[in-house]
Symmetry: C2
Subunit: 309 residues, 2 copies
């Protein structure tokens, strides 16, 4: 069964080694204060396809492909996760399928013409994740259903409390994946093959909705400590526009002046000198990112209680 070989004694031998490889992309953009994801199959799948050669690496190949498809350069591209679960594709018995997923950010959403992939709002798939206008009504029903599923199992109850911020836990927008997985486990989404509760968002093919949730969670975590939001903005922008973009991604409202303070004490941006030509209210200054600082901050880290002697 197993190929003899060059491996050492401590080899990891789990399988026969041949697999079918596939790339799946979560491509995000924010337009009109709405985060969107590129889809195919009438919004029921993420763009994906077999992977092979001709390119020097996965990343390089995917980058070219995206620029071709969207007509926009990809500012940010990062691997999400690689799956190879057996039950994902029952047809393939021997050669199991390996799916490598990526998260990419593009600056603008291309006009939805014929022959073009469609873009759908994140929150069409995850209505419970958008709290910008308050807690959506569907959450109450979700929590009730989950409570029924949990019964008296305290492990389940605790997970629900954490994920949905119940019992004084506080909502954490990063837990998008955990929330989807709870719904899946509880059989509340159609992908789980059981009940189809209305109002729980559009389903997707296979585990694509789970992959999208992974991308959302990753991006939400990342905007807090890496200047990635800029990858979604046009050349120049107002501070409010930037705030609205971050809010759209996080699904939360932010405190205006504190947001501004945070931004400018990081020195990520600088004034262009121009003013925004919007209609209502006092006109705002336009800003642009400071490329050099951005690069430095892209590497910055968090802190340990270091001792300096």
């Amino acid at each position: 069964m197993m190929p003899p070989g060059t491996w050492q004694r401590a080899d990891i031998r789990l399988a026969t080694g041949i697999a079918q490889a596939e790339l799946i992309a979560v491509l995000a953009a924010v337009t009109d204060e709405e985060p969107r994801v590129m889809t195919v199959a009438a919004g029921q799948a993420l763009p994906s396809g077999p992977f092979v050669s001709s390119h020097r690496s996965l990343q390089a190949g995917l980058r070219d492909w995206i620029e071709q498809q969207t007509g926009h350069p990809v500012g940010f591209l990062e691997q999400l996760y690689t799956f190879a679960d057996r039950d994902r594709d029952p047809e393939l018995a021997e050669a199991r399928r390996i799916s490598i997923s990526y998260l990419g950010l593009v600056r603008e959403q291309p006009a939805p013409g014929a022959d073009r992939p469609e873009w759908h709002g994140w929150y069409e798939y995850f209505p419970w994740e958008d709290r910008r206008a308050g807690v959506p009504p569907v959450v109450e029903r979700i929590v009730a259903e989950l409570a029924a599923w949990a019964g008296s199992k305290s492990g389940r109850r605790q997970r629900i409390d954490y994920a949905f911020g119940l019992n004084g836990q506080g909502w954490n927008e990063d837990l998008a994946l955990q929330r989807y997985e709870l719904l899946y486990e509880a059989g509340l989404v159609p992908e789980a093959g059981r009940r189809d509760l209305p109002g729980l968002g559009l389903p997707m093919r296979g585990d694509h909705r789970r992959i999208l949730a992974t991308g959302i969670a990753r991006l939400r975590a990342k905007i807090k400590y890496r200047p990635v939001a800029f990858e979604l903005m046009p050349e120049s922008f107002t501070l409010l526009r930037l705030q609205r973009t971050v809010e759209a991604l996080a699904g939360l409202r932010l405190h205006k002046s504190n947001f501004r303070r945070q931004i400018d004490q990081q020195e990520l941006i600088e004034e262009t000198g121009e003013m925004a030509a919007e209609t209502r209210g006092r006109p705002a200054m336009l800003y642009r990112y400071r490329a050099t600082v951005l690069e430095a901050r892209a590497l910055a880290g968090t802190r340990l209680p270091i001792s300096r002697n």
Copy 2:
């Protein structure tokens, strides 16, 4: 060339879709205040091997394998990165190889008996990463060589400054991967096929040293916001022991009382009631982790300037 198929118009078509899949593990433990990694081939390779079926997922298979090999349960296991670069394995022309790497933490290092994989200290491979006893002397030479390589190219100079904390940038322990990549690009490590500067640590086969650097960087970043250090500790431990473990991973000394304050205001641990039976100094209290809190904190996130209305 390309298989016809079920894909939509927006498919990602980069390749023919068949690949050879391989798993690579970065397995870490901390013993005697020294972080170690499991190796094979006399310390020149990470354990790896072909992947196939029999297990429900990559993660599950790898977990079993590790427990079998080390005799210890794996507390923490997380995917690092998936590579599929063409030039990695020149023999395979058609079916390129996909390498999926993982980071795992085990509680103790098994006794190195015959037929057992060996464990090597991280810092044998990356001597410049350990600053617990101050900046190692080799750093001066590294920086000089890198400066020569950079010449007057300001992009390179800037990257060097960030990575090594020069010119008032401050050392960031998380940048282990970037530092290795600089050395690689500059041709200062033997893996790059050019010069072999002595004192720059042991090389590894293929890109295994790069993968190890990825694991180190990931773990260093993670200990700051997730309670993973506990996965490396025995049942009960003193606060100093915990601090020494974190210091070993970070390659830095921490401020003692601030470290303690940080730990106990997070309520991650509780007293066992016992005292440590060590010899020198005042005996310390023994602690254990609080499983439930740990689980909650495992999900905790960082903060945005949220508005509460």
